[in-house]
């Protein structure tokens, strides 16, 4: 599940882990009441600092996606449609933001990008 963890990326590791879990929860890859791997297990599997895993879980708890039960583990919570929609919107925004940043770096104009976007969409429909 966490193959693309990149310690070199400017995004902190805990954020990458939280992101992946958030996506899994929203797309129902992880179902409500399912237990997330223990901090110990995940830290050992991913070979990251346990504190990093704890931070990721805490962030997800603060956002309402999981529930950390003292001494028992971390469990997925039911995701409301509102949450799901908000998450989709957030991810789409992130995607577009990244794309626009890349385009700027390459020196492409907004018109170049939208033209390519519409071409590709057309291809996909076919």
């Amino acid at each position: 599940m966490f193959e693309k963890l990149d310690p070199r990326s400017p995004t902190p590791l805990y954020a990458q882990i939280a992101e992946r879990l958030r996506t899994a929860i929203v797309t129902r890859e992880l179902t409500p009441a399912e237990a997330l791997p223990s901090v110990r297990q995940l830290a050992a599997t991913l070979r990251v600092n346990p504190a990093t895993v704890v931070q990721a879980y805490r962030e997800l708890e603060a956002e309402g996606f999981v529930e950390m039960r003292q001494g028992m583990g971390t469990y997925v919570r039911e995701v409301s449609p509102g949450q799901r929609g908000a998450e989709r919107e957030r991810q789409a925004t992130e995607l577009v933001r990244r794309m626009l940043a890349d385009a700027a770096r390459l020196g492409l104009s907004v018109r170049d990008v939208t033209a390519a976007f519409e071409r590709e969409l057309g291809e996909q429909v076919r």
């Binding site: 400017p10 590791l13 050992a44 070979r47 990251v48 600092n49 346990p50």
Partner: protein, 305 residues
């Protein structure tokens, strides 16, 4: 319990003809994973040996887990798991004999876990230590350090030179232990990408001096390369530290290597007349290399640490 697992104050030690550890001060917070970086010959192994009481300092004080070193070294060593740079076990002892031998010296030894680790590491119990492969030796040393259930783990390049599978096994076991025991880890390594994943603190040694001692995130995110036009000559007043600056070929801009950068500081740069054109992220390895290079280049602005 002190909040620091290791406290080094004004440590001085002379390594004949090589370099001198002068006035070294270092603190490792309890429960943290502290990564120790530095080029070969910068004093990392010497510092580790001094911390363990294997060498006697010329001046300064060392305290490990509340014990003064080297005065109370044996007592401290009972709670320290040490993986040395070169595995130095008796080559005639077999794996299980070596495990038994060590178990006699540490009261906190967990024999059941030692056995589980031995199986997980796939170490043949009757094989003599001298006939193990490099990776197997490394795994055994890690096993011996962990089975002791230490409060502090001191690892001197434990996975350097080993294949990725072995490294994964060793680090997995280490982190598994740290997650349940809240031990402190002091690990030196050249495998910066591994340290990047697991350390929350990083210390950089160069020529016997500790040139950086900061939180991992801050070190990574704070080191940046800036592309600046009309950069001011005097950078002392800026909130970030400029390590080096050099002109970009022909484009009229300069490439600045900076430390302690935060995005808000762009306004400070603008106020000083500089035009910030680009901020380039550096990962830990690049940051480390650039930091060291900044100390060596003669044609650059003197580096302030």
């Amino acid at each position: 319990m002190s909040e620091y697992a290791v406290e080094i104050d004004h440590l001085t030690y002379r390594v004949k003809r090589a370099f001198t550890l002068e006035d070294l001060c270092l603190r490792i917070p309890a429960g943290s994973i502290y990564g120790f970086l530095g080029p070969n010959g910068s004093g990392k192994t010497t510092t580790i040996r001094l911390v363990l009481g294997l060498l006697r300092p010329a001046a300064g004080a060392i305290s490990v887990l509340g014990h003064a070193i080297p005065a109370e070294a044996p007592r401290a060593l009972k709670r320290i798991g040490y993986v040395p740079e070169a595995p130095h076990l008796d080559p005639t002892l077999s794996v299980s004999e070596a495990i038994w031998f060590h178990s006699r010296f540490y009261p906190s030894w967990d024999a059941a876990w030692a056995e589980r680790l031995r199986e997980a590491f796939e170490l043949d119990p009757v094989r003599p230590f001298g006939r193990l492969s490099k990776g197997q030796k490394g795994k055994l040393m890690m096993l011996l350090a962990l089975a002791q259930r230490p409060d502090l783990l001191v690892l001197d390049e434990p996975t350097d030179g080993l294949d990725p599978v072995v490294r994964r096994d060793m680090l997995g076991a280490l982190l598994d232990y740290v997650a349940q025991h809240e031990a402190t880890v002091f690990i030196s390594s050249h495998l910066i990408h591994e340290l990047e994943r697991i350390c929350d603190w990083v210390g950089v040694m160069d020529g016997g001096r500790l040139v950086a001692d900061v939180g991992m995130e801050r070190f990574k995110t704070g080191m940046k390369r800036l592309r600046v036009a009309h950069g001011p000559h005097d950078t002392a007043a800026l909130p970030f530290r400029v390590l080096t600056r050099s002109p970009d070929n022909g484009s009229g801009t300069e490439s600045w290597l900076v430390r302690d950068w935060a995005p808000e500081m762009a306004s400070a740069l603008a106020a000083a007349g500089g035009d910030l054109q680009q901020v380039i992220d550096l990962d830990l390895e690049e940051g480390f290399v650039e930091l060291l290079r900044s100390f060596r280049g003669p044609a650059r602005e003197p580096a302030h640490v």
